[in-house]
């Protein structure tokens, strides 16, 4: 039972690899959902089953594990887009980059001036590597839906980082972050719909570069 948080965090890191290594969008959404659900278990485990922690966990589980993935899966079904074809960077190089950033996260996490209680925990490396994975998804993938997934992964990384402050973090802050996410997902959904309508049967964000000058 003592090792459970570490298992969860390692699972989160492995899910990062899976996310960046697969081209099937449905699987990606499910992986993100799993990641969010796993993470929502962390607050009560780490800081004990208080009302605060439980409500945090419940809210996160509902939103990240159920509502948002359901919305995304529905979008995929409706738009009939199953695969991320032609990412900006191939899958193998992306995986190599994830490996590099994860290793870097571990090295960097060791050098941070942390409290003694957090010294050997996996929280910091997991958080940093998830942030990096989110960044890489945003950078290397073209589809609007994978962009959304990138933001979700990013948010997961921030959530892990928040674990260090689980006791101190007010409920309202976390609720606000989750609400932001939800709104962002809605906006992205609208954007996706518009891209799809404008550039028939594609949700490629590369079409959205007319404003660069």
């Amino acid at each position: 039972m003592q090792n459970l948080p570490d298992f969860i965090l390692i699972a989160v890191i492995l899910l990062n690899f899976f996310l960046l290594g697969t081209s099937r969008l449905g699987a990606c959404v499910q992986a993100v959902a799993l990641q969010g659900a796993l993470l929502s278990l962390l607050p009560p485990i780490l800081s004990g089953p208080s009302v605060h922690a439980l409500s945090l966990a419940g809210g996160a589980f509902c939103l990240k594990g159920i509502v948002i993935p359901a919305l995304l899966l529905r979008a995929i079904r409706k738009l009939d887009i199953n695969r991320e074809i032609e990412p900006r960077l191939g899958y193998i190089p992306t995986l190599l980059l994830v490996a590099l950033t994860t290793a870097g996260a571990f090295v960097f996490g060791d050098r941070l001036p942390l409290l003694a209680a957090h010294l050997n925990s996996l929280v910091i490396p997991a958080s940093l590597s998830t942030l990096a994975a989110g960044f890489l998804t945003l950078i290397t993938r073209r589809k609007a839906i994978t962009q959304v997934l990138g933001y979700l992964i990013f948010e997961n990384g921030i959530f892990v980082f928040g674990m260090l402050l689980a006791e101190a973090m007010p409920l309202m802050v976390e609720a606000g972050v989750l609400l932001d996410m939800l709104v962002a997902i809605f906006v992205m959904g609208i954007v996706m719909n518009h891209i799809n309508r404008e550039f028939s049967s594609s949700i490629d964000t590369d079409h959205l570069n007319l404003l660069r000058e």
Partner: protein
């Protein structure tokens, strides 16, 4: 000093006179003109009074600007530059009444009358400033007023282009001057004032850096050869009285700066002198070569400014070498030649620009090929132009001869009895002689093509009004006066040399080294012979002068268009200098006995600007454009990558 400040105030008043007046009203232009002339006369009186008092006059007032102070100083060196500045400002101001009347051109005429006195006031302030910040302030006023004057005529695209090149060049120079003054401040304790003459040691690396920065900053303003890029375009595009002020006075401010800066140092390294001498030689010879290849009257005159700056630098280089090798006679003669040429070039170049402007005013064209036989319709202008041309070629009995003669004397000292200078300096002599010869050829071309030959019916020309002729007459009188009685200039030059060398150093009086009296006698004799010759060759009653086509090519054509053109006249010399000029010629290729109609054209690009800077600049713009397009490619992913990289860099930086 109060008088001098009043003079500057009057100039500023003249610049601002238009506030409250109707745009283009005659009242405005009259007020501005009266104020300008009063300011110039008052300034002349002030400088004369200060000089007659015998010692430099200073003014020290606080100025709440960091490192600034309202410190002015008028000494002999400044006076040599102030006299032509005031005279030419007045001449140009009066000239504008007929040349660019406000009644005919309300917009640009008002513009001209607003910024012309401002340019003059800036020049006066630069020449007297004794505080680095004040100097730079006045320098910028002068530079910006110059830019605004170059773009006076906005019906055309050319002035704007020339103006922006000028602006870029002058700001590059100002940058160098900022560096120079910063370095200078480390060398002497009182940063509020410029150093006294001969108060700093020149044998340090900082001194070398100061010299190089001064050469760059002041050289860009003076227009010495590789740095002359802005000069032909700006002089050609500006109104003629502005060209006269810029060419006659403003570029000399660069020479003033160079003189002042080198004067700060007591022991001058020899390579300074060699550098200045070499640059002077290049400017003189190539300046006149480029001038010969021009077809545009004002561009041609502008390149002659480069040539004359070269001659001035030859004098300055001689003086610097004399200081390094301990040859006082070289110092005195070289400086005197350079300074007198500053005055002389101011006079005759202003005269040439004004009379050239009268020709342009009358014909509406700047192309030499469009002129012909103008002497018949505008004899006085022709006479003034001829006077200026003879002066610029260094022909006695006019003033150009005297100053070039002083430079010659200075250079001859390098090989004279007991000389310690390496005789290599003598190599500048044939260069100077060649410059004079080529200038003569160039002005034979200009005068011949424009004023002689058959008249062009489509370009009749007419004599300009008196307000334009009077300034030219005054300037020509000045040229003749210095040419005939150079001895009257020697005390002023002596005073300036003392100021340059520092008050302590005693130098041989110029009158002992340069027999100016001989020049006067010679000049008078020459005038006498010329007069007698003219009397003998005068048109007698009853004797008809046969009139035929002057430049007839030996061909019996009565077409006034069939004659030597500016480019054919200069073709041989342009061929000699092809390695430097890179003239593009497109000539007829049809060699059959009955060739079809074919055009001929030749164009000489500016070596530094057109062949070096422009391609380099466009390459730079292209590369950075590609780079920007690659960086700002519109893909959100890349922007995220940039922020991630920035974050990473910050983390690494903070982790150090």
């Amino acid at each position: 000093m109060d008088l001098f400040l009043t003079a500057i105030g009057l100039l500023l008043l003249s610049s601002l006179a238009g506030i409250g007046c109707r745009r283009g009203s005659r009242l405005w232009s009259r007020t501005a003109l009266v104020s300008l002339l009063a300011g110039c006369l008052l300034g002349l009186a002030a400088v004369t009074l200060i000089l007659s008092a015998g010692k430099p006059v200073t003014l020290r007032l606080p100025w709440p600007v960091p490192g600034g102070g309202l410190s002015l100083r008028i000494d002999g060196l400044a006076a040599v530059f102030l006299y032509p500045a005031l005279l030419i400002t007045a001449a140009g101001g009066l000239y504008a009444e007929g040349y660019w009347p406000v009644t005919a051109r309300p917009g640009s005429g008002s513009w001209l009358r607003c910024f012309y006195p401002l340019l003059a006031a800036g020049i006066l302030l630069v020449l007297t400033a004794d505080n680095p910040v004040l100097f730079l302030f006045a320098w910028e006023v002068m530079a910006l007023a110059g830019f605004l004057l170059v773009v006076t005529d906005r019906n055309d695209e050319e002035p704007l282009r020339a103006g922006f090149i000028y602006l870029a060049a002058t700001h590059a120079g100002t940058l160098a001057l900022f560096g120079m003054f910063a370095l200078l401040a480390t060398l002497h304790p009182d940063a509020l004032l410029l150093p006294q003459a001969a108060s700093l040691s020149g044998a340090t690396t900082t001194a070398d850096a100061v010299f190089l920065l001064a050469l760059l900053g002041f050289g860009l303003k003076a227009g010495l050869m590789p740095l002359h890029i802005w000069l032909p375009g700006a002089h050609a595009a500006a109104p003629s009285n502005v060209s006269a002020l810029m060419s006659g006075v403003m570029i000399k401010v660069g020479i003033y700066g160079l003189l002042r800066t080198t004067g700060f140092f007591i022991d001058v390294p020899a390579w300074w002198g060699w550098t200045v001498l070499g640059l002077g030689l290049v400017s003189a010879v190539l300046g006149v070569a480029f001038a010969i290849a021009q077809h545009d009257l004002k561009r041609l005159l502008a390149f002659h400014s480069v040539e004359n700056i070269g001659i001035i630098l030859l004098g300055l280089g001689t003086a610097l070498l004399g200081r390094s090798y301990g040859m006082p006679a070289m110092v005195v003669l070289g400086t005197a030649g350079a300074l007198l040429h500053v005055v002389n070039h101011g006079l005759f170049k202003a005269l040439l620009f004004l009379s050239g402007g009268a020709v342009i005013h009358a014909t509406g064209s700047r192309r030499l090929t469009d002129y012909g036989g103008l002497l018949r319709s505008m004899p006085l202008t022709g006479l003034f132009f001829l006077g200026g041309a003879a002066a610029i070629c260094g022909l006695p009995p006019l003033n150009g001869f005297v100053s070039e003669w002083l430079v010659y004397l200075g250079l001859f000292q390098a090989a004279g009895h007991g000389a310690t200078t390496p005789p290599v300096a003598l190599l500048a002599l044939p260069g100077l002689a060649m410059t004079g010869g080529l200038a003569l050829l160039c002005f034979a071309k200009v005068f011949g093509i424009s004023f002689l030959g058959a008249s062009r019916p489509e370009m009749p020309g007419h004599e300009p009004p008196a307000s334009m002729l009077l300034p030219m007459g005054v300037l020509l009188a000045g040229c003749i006066w210095i040419g005939v009685a150079p001895a009257t200039m020697l005390p002023l030059l002596d005073r300036a040399i003392t100021a340059w060398l520092g008050g302590t150093a005693d130098h041989t009086a110029l009158a002992h080294l340069a027999p100016a009296g001989e020049i006067s006698r010679l000049a008078l004799l020459l005038l006498l012979f010329a007069g007698l010759g003219g009397l003998y060759a005068r048109p007698r009653k009853g004797k008809r002068i046969p009139i035929s086509v002057t430049w007839g090519c030996g061909c019996k054509l009565s077409l006034p268009r069939a004659r030597y053109s500016a480019s054919s006249f200069a073709e041989m010399i342009v061929g000699f200098f092809d390695w430097a000029l890179q003239t593009h010629t497109s000539r007829p290729t049809d060699r059959t006995p009955f060739p079809a109609r074919e055009p001929f054209s030749s164009h000489t690009p500016d070596g530094v600007l057109d062949l070096l800077l422009r391609p380099a600049a466009s390459r730079l713009v292209e590369t950075t454009g590609h780079l920007r397009r690659a960086i700002q490619n519109g893909l959100v992913g890349f922007y995220l990558l940039y922020s991630a990289l920035a974050l990473l860099a910050l983390l690494l930086f903070a982790g150090q």
